[in-house]
């Protein structure tokens, strides 16, 4: 047991060094994915079939196929297409060989599909009276969307988005399969080097539990801040 503990301590610095990688993956994927979700949701509610059908199809494909298949398709598929084109000569190439950016790309597209569907429901749930009131004040269509519909929709679906963000944090472990050394990938690397099966996985699991716990707390603070007008005055 004592020997096991000292082993945990010996691998802790390596694993801890990978935590920022997991967190950056989560942060950028959430940022890009949730931003992309807005046009996806708006298009899926559009009366124009040329916007509505592609958006519905996009949501369907992202939710209907495994994220791992999407990640492989983007990493290996683009890796097959890009070399030999102008991209290889551009300044972006050093970045484009790195699995990290493919992982962010894949997770963002996936998040855009899932959040797009959630946001779609939330936009439909915005009370009609609020939009009518904004119209009565002479708000333009764009202003109504940015000032009334979108903020209210985000407020409505925030608890669901919290859950989605935690799922995303856990899903970033798939990046280990396309050579990104985040927490999961580092744990597997330690497994291979030290021939220990359990300790690296258990240590990584503890780190994930801590990250999920902290992220949940943070999102509760955000939820409270956004709903502060509805809370009883202290």
């Amino acid at each position: 047991m004592d020997e096991s503990l000292s082993f945990f301590l010996s691998i802790a610095p390596t694993l801890l060094a990978a935590v920022p990688v997991t967190l950056t993956l989560t942060f950028f994927s959430a940022l890009i994915g949730n931003s992309l979700a807005v046009p996806v949701a708006v298009a899926s509610l559009s009366p124009n079939p040329l916007l509505r059908y592609p958006s519905a199809f996009y949501i369907f494909v992202m939710r209907g196929t495994p994220l791992l298949a999407q990640t492989y398709l983007i990493y290996y598929g683009l890796g097959e297409l890009l070399p030999g084109t102008w991209v290889q000569k551009s300044f972006l190439w050093p970045y484009l060989r790195d699995g990290f950016w493919y992982a962010i790309f894949a997770f963002s597209l996936n998040t855009a599909g899932y959040t797009g569907e959630i946001l779609r429901g939330a936009i439909m749930a915005v009370p009609k009276g609020e939009i009518e009131a904004a119209r009565a004040y002479g708000f333009s269509k764009g202003l109504i969307f940015w000032r009334v519909t979108l903020p209210r929709a985000i407020q409505i679906c925030l608890p669901t988005m919290t859950g989605e963000t935690i799922l995303l944090l856990k899903a970033t472990s798939l990046a280990s399969l396309i050579t990104v050394w985040e927490v999961m990938g580092t744990a597997r690397q330690i497994q291979k080097v030290t021939f220990r099966v359990y300790e690296p996985l258990i240590a990584a699991g503890l780190l994930y539990i801590i990250m999920v716990f902290v992220l949940t707390r943070l999102m509760i603070i955000v939820e409270r801040r956004i709903n502060r007008h509805r809370l009883a005055p202290v």
Binding site: G64, T65, P66, A69, Y72, Y76, M184, Y198
Partner: protein
């Protein structure tokens, strides 16, 4: 390579990958169905434990659902896969030395791991569904002299199913997608593993991963149709 020859790679003959992909599809469906069955059993046990009056049962169920939902599926899969295999080997080695080089069937280990993960989410779905049955119904069953088991079979289960179906449907769709994770174990011939093999051999990564993705999409479409039919059937008394 032009389009026609790309598709010839998918032929069902000895040189094509068509038949391998069909086999992969079958394995993926088999793993998903078995893992889902395991998660249904664990979900029912977990929900009963969460609603029981025993503090120990509630505590164990809480730890189970909290841990599983806080850990990445991939990590859990590897952890259960390795530890399950080691545990079985250990037990067998106690029985006899003949089992020294016993190998755990990768299919069974993968099913156990995926079922264990799904069971935690199923526990929450079933707990919610049992709680949505009006209390009066259970009291009425008791007043009519039904035994506890009869109440479960005639009153709770049939009504619970109606409330649980949307959640259970979502979990089935997750189960089919999560089953793709077993491809990383490297010894299961599932759909994504076939995509991996075919693209590694032919170097047509984009094409073969797209084929795998389209087949996953087909599973989703068929599942969604079946779920919708089941929902219509279970809600037939509430129109």
């Amino acid at each position: 390579m032009d389009q026609a020859s790309l598709f010839s790679l998918l032929s069902f003959g000895p040189d094509g990958w068509g038949m391998r992909f069909v086999e992969g599809l079958v394995v993926t469906v088999e793993v998903s169905v078995s893992a889902y069955a395991v998660s249904l059993i664990l979900g029912l046990i977990g929900a009963s434990a969460k609603l029981s009056s025993s503090k120990i049962a509630r505590g164990i169920a809480d730890v189970y659902t909290t841990l599983v939902r806080a850990l990445p599926e991939l990590l859990l899969l590897l952890l259960i896969y390795f530890s399950g295999a080691d545990a079985i080997k250990f037990v067998l080695s106690l029985i006899s030395e003949d089992f020294e080089d016993f190998e755990v069937d990768p299919f069974a280990a993968a099913v156990a791991a995926l079922g264990f993960i799904g069971g935690a989410y199923m526990t929450e779905v079933m707990r919610g569904a049992i709680l949505s049955i009006p209390n009066g119904q259970i009291e009425a069953a008791k007043a009519s002299g039904m035994s506890r088991f009869l109440t479960l079979r005639r009153v709770i289960l049939p009504q619970m199913l109606r409330y649980a179906l949307p959640g259970m449907g979502n979990l089935w769709l997750s189960a089919t997608k999560d089953s793709s994770l077993i491809s990383v174990l490297g010894n299961t011939q599932d759909l994504l593993f076939m995509g991996y093999r075919a693209s590694a051999v032919t170097k047509h990564y984009g094409f073969f991963y797209s084929v795998a993705a389209i087949l996953f999409l087909a599973i989703t479409v068929i599942s969604m149709i079946v779920i919708r039919l089941l929902e219509a059937r279970l809600n037939r008394g509430y129109k």
